[in-house]
């Protein structure tokens, strides 16, 4: 082996490292994919939290865009995104459906009374069956449905000001949702 050939391993490594860097850069841009993206939201029928004798089904979500937000009182992140949801509900006319996931109805009602209710409807999914249909990893998760009831976007994790500004607000606007505030950057607190 000549002296120069001893540098070959180093060269190969630099090459791999460069590739790793590029791949890393790509990896960071990936969103967690959902099997439901661009597919119809699953058929369901679930009881309303505040009116257990009434049910909501997929047909009720058709005709206009809707946000479906999976939440629970046992989920600390849900509380931290709650203020953002309140602002969205106040500032836009988008329908927000809450899926109260694996929770106790009495606790959920108390929670909404205490912190405010951003939802047009809250579904009672205490045994998590709807969650399974939706392919929920955990709470919070948010699905954006278009007027045809197809999932156009899914967020695993909280809706924070950055996600609202960069991901959600532009998509809502694209779907024709009216923003009543002059600045979409609602949560720049």
């Amino acid at each position: 082996m000549s002296r120069a050939s001893l540098y070959i391993p180093l060269g190969v490594f630099v090459l791999i490292l460069g590739l790793g860097y590029v791949g890393f850069d790509l990896g960071a841009r990936n969103e967690l994919p959902s099997a439901l993206i661009d597919k119809p939201f699953p058929e369901f029928q679930a009881r309303l939290l505040d009116a257990p004798d009434q049910t909501l089904s997929r047909e009720d979500l058709l005709g206009r865009p809707a946000l479906v937000n999976v939440w629970a009182t046992w989920c600390p992140t849900c509380l931290s995104e709650h203020a953002q949801l309140m602002q969205i509900s106040a500032a836009t006319d988008v329908v927000i459906v809450g899926v109260n996931y694996k929770d106790r109805p009495d606790k959920a009602k108390q929670w909404l009374a205490q912190y405010g209710n951003p939802y047009d409807w809250v579904l009672d999914d205490r045994d998590g069956l709807l969650g399974i249909e939706m392919g929920v990893y955990g709470a919070p998760e948010t699905f954006l449905l278009n007027a045809k009831g197809e999932v156009v976007y899914k967020r695993v994790g909280d809706i924070n000001p950055r996600i609202w500004r960069d991901e959600l607000a532009p998509r809502l606007r694209q779907l024709g949702i009216v923003m009543t505030m002059d600045n979409t950057d609602t949560g720049a607190d």
Partner: protein, 646 residues
């Protein structure tokens, strides 16, 4: 309070790692400093242990104010899984990594009497700096002790049900012991380069550590494969998944290292090559960690995707691997020795082994990284699957078997051609049996018959030499270890060849009381019952396996489990294990009318794959107990004793 103490203990371990690293590199010849470095290793281990114990304590007591515990445990979880959940997620498994690193360093200190103190101290310095890197990673990017206050949840999110299993309890510790153990040959190689000294004693010493780490790695990979087989419900045992590849690459490099160290020890050649392999093997351990932790490649195994972590590992990798390879480029030429040997010599056949291992490594590396490169250039996604790997590994494996068959009779330097007669006799026997196997196979494939014949050839030549040596009364442990490892490889190859081509798989719809035939057995589905586990509810299918005439009934109960805390649905396969074949049943989806989609597998010799791998690991360990290593320890002890009295 206890988690904060754990955090503090981990910080102290980091401070001691910095101290030992500084001492090892600045003042390796100072006697007081040497002792200080050793005691700081004990300190690193003790504080890592305390940190680990603190996290375990938080798990056992269901302290859900600790974020990591809240995310990976649940009050309903059986206690044994509460303990194993400590390493069920990214942060905790990295803490385990650090504890294992500390344990290896401690073992290294305790067995360091065999080599000059300044050499050992420098090696401790290198190891401590590596450990410092690991500890900083844990503290700054993946701290398992962070609290959820005041938003403490009432109960935890539960451990991923896939990981609630015996396999997970032992798989990561073994695998990490292998990964991290390779740090010791790495450190010894770096110090050898720094000191410009590499001799037979160095090689013998490095070999002991390499063999042990390699054996752990082998066991860890084997267990992972076994776990995937029975827990994922797909009936496969190796998927060429990026994370599997990440563990396979250091294994290939370490296997090459084990062999090239043997040449360096016995013949004083292959020196710079051995050093490069030692660096490579550990580098691939780190690369494996990068691949798994950074989210570059998403896979079932990845715990979390976090850009900060990925960037940290990338920089750490650049420093450690880039630094050591630069050192190698600058210093390795000092170690060049010209030694001649013939084609019919152990040296040459070790070279064949090394070439095959390195080519395999390149193939796996390409198969793992090419998708990333492709995405970077074209923006599209491709996946490289089994056909790509088979195209290389089938011929490489067969070639390796051919080379192995000769090995037992070969001497160092050169071998008389007459001794090959016995090898050719064995080949004739194996070839006849191979032809018979070819006719017996369905579907007939010449490659499978060739694999069986070549493996048999390897077995015959090895056993013959074993008996021959035993009769002559010279049977060193190293030879027994080598024979076992090579027999294990032959056995594993047969297992792979047969199970990959002769398995029977059928996906069928079965209604209660219906029967199907599977590879000569009658499978009767009697129905599904509901059962309740500690933290899940399951639908359990009951299947009766019988011979065609209705005898030898065996019951299998595969389950479809729904875990209460996370709502996850898991498949638990029912397996009738056997030395010669497994019958494997997993429940698919319920269909109308009480019927179920059922997946039935008949997998001949699948267990040989794992038994073969375990034999290899056992061989590696036995070889460490060869007398010449014990002699070396005694000799060093004696010289130290006389030095003390003088």
């Amino acid at each position: 309070m206890i988690p904060e103490l754990g955090n503090f203990a981990l910080t102290l371990a980091g401070v001691l790692a910095l101290g030992a690293g500084g001492v090892g590199l600045v003042a390796p010849r100072d006697e007081v400093m040497q002792r200080a470095a050793q005691s700081m290793v004990l300190g690193q281990w003790s504080f890592s242990f305390l940190a680990f114990a603190a996290l375990t304590y938080a798990f056992v007591l269901d302290d859900f104010s600790v974020a990591y515990v809240a995310n990976h445990s649940n009050s309903l979880l059986p206690w044994i899984y509460k303990v194993s959940a400590v390493w069920g997620g990214h942060e905790g498994s990295f803490l385990l990594w650090i504890l294992i690193m500390g344990t290896w360093m401690l073992a290294f200190c305790l067995r360091s009497g065999q080599y000059p103190q300044h050499f050992t101290t420098r090696a401790i310095g290198v190891l401590s700096l590596l450990n410092l890197g690991f500890i900083c990673f844990a503290l700054f990017t993946s701290n398992p002790f962070l609290r959820l206050i005041p938003l403490t949840p009432a109960d935890g999110a539960d451990l991923n049900p896939l990981l609630q299993d015996f396999g997970l309890i032992v798989h990561p510790p073994l695998l990490y012991a292998g990964y991290v153990g390779l740090a010791i040959p790495f450190a010894l190689a770096v110090v050898a380069l720094l000191e410009g000294r590499i001799d037979a004693t160095w090689a013998r010493w490095t070999r002991t550590w390499t063999n042990m780490a390699w054996a752990f790695l082998t066991c860890g990979i084997t267990l992972g494969s076994w776990w995937a087989y029975y827990e994922l419900g797909w009936g496969g045992w190796w998927f060429w998944d990026p994370v599997e590849n990440a563990s396979f690459m250091p294994w290939l490099a370490a296997t090459a290292l084990v062999h090239s160290l043997s040449v360096t020890e016995n013949r004083g050649t292959f020196k710079s090559w051995t050093l490069l392999l030692a660096i490579t093997a550990f580098s691939f351990s780190l690369l494996g960690a990068f691949i798994v932790r950074s989210g570059v490649l998403t896979s079932v195994h990845s715990f979390a995707v976090d850009p900060e972590r990925g960037m940290y590992i990338l920089i750490f990798l650049a420093l450690v691997v880039g630094g050591s390879l630069t050192l190698y480029a600058l210093r390795a030429s000092q170690t060049q020795v010209k030694v001649s040997y013939g084609v019919l010599s152990r040296e040459f056949f070790m070279l064949i082994n090394n070439v095959i291992m390195v080519v395999s490594l390149a193939v796996v590396l390409w198969g793992t990284l090419a998708p990333i490169g492709y995405e970077a250039i074209s923006g599209g996604r491709i996946s490289i699957g089994t056909p790509f790997f088979n195209a290389f590994f089938v011929p490489l494996g067969l070639l390796l078997l051919c080379a192995l068959a000769f090995l037992p009779v070969l001497n160092w330097k050169r071998t008389k051609t007459q001794v090959l007669n016995s090898v050719y006799q064995a080949m004739a026997i194996a070839a006849v049996i191979g032809v018979l196997v070819w006719f017996a196979l369905d579907p007939a494939t010449i490659l499978v018959a060739a694999a069986v014949a070549l493996a048999l050839w390897v077995v015959i030549t090895h056993l013959k030499q074993l008996v021959f040596r035993a009769l002559r009364g010279s049977l060193p442990a190293a030879f027994i270890g080598m024979t076992l490892a090579h027999l294990g490889f032959a056995m594993g190859t047969v297992g792979i060849a047969i199970t990959a081509t002769q398995s029977v798989e059928s996906d069928v719809r079965m209604s209660p009381q219906s029967q199907v035939e599977l590879a000569g057995q009658q499978v009767t589905f009697t129905g599904v019952t509901n059962v309740k586990g500690p933290n899940y509810e399951a639908q359990q299918g009951i299947f009766i396996l019988t011979d065609p005439d209705g005898r030898n009934a065996f019951e299998l109960r595969p389950e479809k489990r729904r875990y209460l805390a996370g709502g996850n649905v898991m498949t638990e396969a029912g397996i009738n294990p056997g030395f010669f074949a497994d019958t494997y049943i997993s429940l698919g989806e319920p269909l109308e009318g009480g019927a179920w989609a059922v997946r039935l597998h008949y997998k001949p010799l699948v267990r040989w794959v794992w038994i073969g791998a375990l034999l290899m690991a056992l061989g590696g360990v036995i070889a460490v107990f060869d007398k010449r290593y014990a002699r070396q320890r005694r000799r060093v002890a004696a010289t130290q004793g006389s030095a003390a009295t003088a």
